[in-house]
């Protein structure tokens, strides 16, 4: 079971949060009320989705101070532990797309399908487009189509016709594009990538232990971040890493593990190399 350690922890984290949100509405719990757009912990600490706030500001809203503070709390928190830790440890859509990916592997779709190339940077362009559309339409543009909030609200307040979008994303990820939604399109993931650019917790590779089995690259939802596998011992450098820990899970050679990035130490190593 050691191959599923982080996966199980992530599922526990994702489901616990959904249960807390659900309980806040259904039983009046105070632990975590609201939803992923904006919520309060124990009725005091505010949390707000920074991307939703940006869109609202682009639409021309004057947003209340509580929500702005909540946005800062989120930026600070994920800025520390890893921006896209949101994607793999919190976001409920991750469970939908992971399910699609699991089935994709079982059906060998990767090996058979006609490949479609879509830029992994699409999400960043969509952030800009979302802000422009918000400005033009006077409505937070991504929030009216976001499958994340649709799924999140669906669990809390009951599903509506919007659930169709989740089915669509499942089949898109399964049959059309590997990691299509989370790895290419989702602009919220893009925002969280930017937030976590300088975060502390990163996966570190030890190439001395690596046997080049490439299991990590098979499982990774953002393969491009594992560009150092078998080449050099280093931290994952790219911001798109979701800190999901699947690569650590599947590695049987102890070549991958979470570590704390130490910027000062890194700089020293570089200078040492230069001296030599």
């Amino acid at each position: 079971m050691s191959n599923y350690k982080y996966l199980i922890l992530r599922r526990i984290s994702q489901i616990t949060l959904l249960v807390l949100y659900f309980g806040a509405n259904a039983y009046g719990w105070k632990m975590l009320a609201g939803n992923l757009s904006s919520s309060t912990i124990l009725g005091t600490i505010p949390l707000s989705d920074p991307f939703a706030l940006l869109q609202m500001l682009a639409a021309g809203a004057s947003v209340g101070a509580t929500a702005l503070v909540g946005g800062l709390v989120i930026v600070f928190f994920y800025g520390l532990i890893g921006g896209r830790a949101f994607c793999s440890w919190v976001c409920p859509v991750n469970m939908v797309t992971d399910a699609a990916n699991w089935l994709r592997r079982k059906l060998y779709i990767d090996k058979i399908e006609r490949k479609i190339w879509v830029s992994r940077n699409l999400r960043y362009y969509l952030i800009i487009l979302a802000l422009i559309v918000s400005f033009v339409s006077g409505l937070a543009a991504f929030e009216v189509i976001s499958p994340i909030t649709i799924l999140n609200r669906g669990v809390i307040f009951g599903f509506g016709a919007g659930a169709g979008l989740l089915v669509a994303i499942f089949f898109f990820d399964l049959f059309v594009l590997k990691n299509g939604w989370c790895g290419h399109i989702c602009p919220l993931g893009g925002v969280h990538s930017i937030i976590g650019k300088y975060n502390l917790f990163r996966v570190k590779h030890n190439s001395d232990n690596c046997t080049l089995c490439m299991k990590c690259k098979d499982i990774c939802p953002e393969v491009q971040v594992l560009d150092m596998i078998g080449k050099r011992s280093d931290f994952v450098a790219k911001q798109e890493c979701t800190n999901c820990g699947r690569c650590v899970d599947v590695c049987n050679d102890d070549a991958l593990g979470f570590n704390i990035r130490n910027y000062m130490k890194n700089n020293q190593e570089v200078t040492d190399e230069n001296v030599n």
């Binding site: 509405n25 609202m56 004057s62 559309v133 409505l139 609200r153």
Partner: protein, 283 residues
């Protein structure tokens, strides 16, 4: 003769501009579709918002769709009746994709579950973005005043209201939380029978909050009194109509002196025609 094949030299500059053009094309295509959808995704004009909500346009911009108001509403599923332990039906609902309101925004339908106008207005202070503006329901002392709520306005369809037929019914009058203030009964003589009275419900638009308890209470098959957003049912006479008998309105005109007060419609040049009194001999 050998056919000359024209070789196009693709410079980095050409590649750069072509890529830019491709990106622009996709953005315009996607952006137009997206903006078009966003426009259509805006709520229908009939949507009723929670108390203290900003004007619809600003509300749509400012609501973050977190549902905290709906969870704070006294009249919600999770707030069971202490004695019967029965779930209460929820007033504030979060719009789903198939609803008339923008997805994820709170709204209520008075004919299903009206707003019960809690004195402490629990739904408003929890709003993190101030899309529900607490100052609009606070009096001069800074206390919450539920009488200042402004969700809509009750309208009576006098054609289908049975009280206007002469049948005795004061269901809406009795249901109103601002009894005899927001809905008053106007007594009128019933000429048809000659010995009965009409008890006609009349809504005072300055007091009615639009809670919808009257709509819920109405006995007709489809309610003859119903709540609509205020801007939908209220007219506007314009500044140039002045109540000459109202000192306040006179003051308003006096203060308007800095504005352009000249008459723009020219006076008719033709004389008034006295067609009634011509050719009549009054002797």
């Amino acid at each position: 003769m050998k056919k000359e094949v024209k070789k196009v030299h693709i410079t980095p500059r050409r590649r750069f501009f072509t890529n830019i053009a491709q990106g622009t094309g996709m953005s315009i295509m996607g952006g137009l579709l997206w903006a078009g959808y966003a426009q259509k995704a805006k709520s229908s004009a009939l949507t009723l918002r929670p108390p203290a909500a900003l004007e619809e346009e600003d509300f749509l911009k400012t609501c973050i769709k977190c549902g905290l108001c709906s969870e704070a509403c006294f009249n919600r599923d999770s707030n069971r009746d202490k004695e019967t332990l029965e779930h209460r039906p929820a007033t504030l609902k979060m719009a789903k994709a198939q609803d008339d309101a923008t997805i994820g925004t709170p709204f209520f339908v008075p004919s299903e579950v009206p707003c019960y106008m809690c004195e402490d207005i629990p739904c408003v202070p929890v709003c993190p973005t101030e899309a529900l503006d607490i100052t609009s329901v606070s009096n001069d002392k800074g206390e919450l005043d539920f009488k200042m709520m402004n969700m809509g306005l009750a309208v009576v369809d006098s054609n289908s209201c049975i009280a206007f037929w002469g049948i005795q019914c004061d269901a809406c009058y009795r249901a109103c939380p601002l009894l005899d203030e927001a809905i008053k009964l106007e007594y009128d003589r019933n000429e048809r029978t000659g010995k009965h009275a009409f008890l006609k419900p009349i809504v005072d638009m300055n007091i009615c909050t639009g809670c919808g308890l009257c709509e819920k209470a109405c006995v007709t098959e489809k309610p003859a009194i119903f709540v609509r957003p205020r801007e939908l049912v209220l007219g506007k006479p314009g500044d140039h109509y002045v109540k000459g008998w109202d000192a306040k309105d006179q003051q308003r005109v006096a203060q308007q002196s800095d504005k352009d007060m000249t008459t723009h419609t020219e006076r008719s040049k033709s004389e008034a025609v006295d067609y009634l009194n011509t050719g009549v001999d009054f002797e």
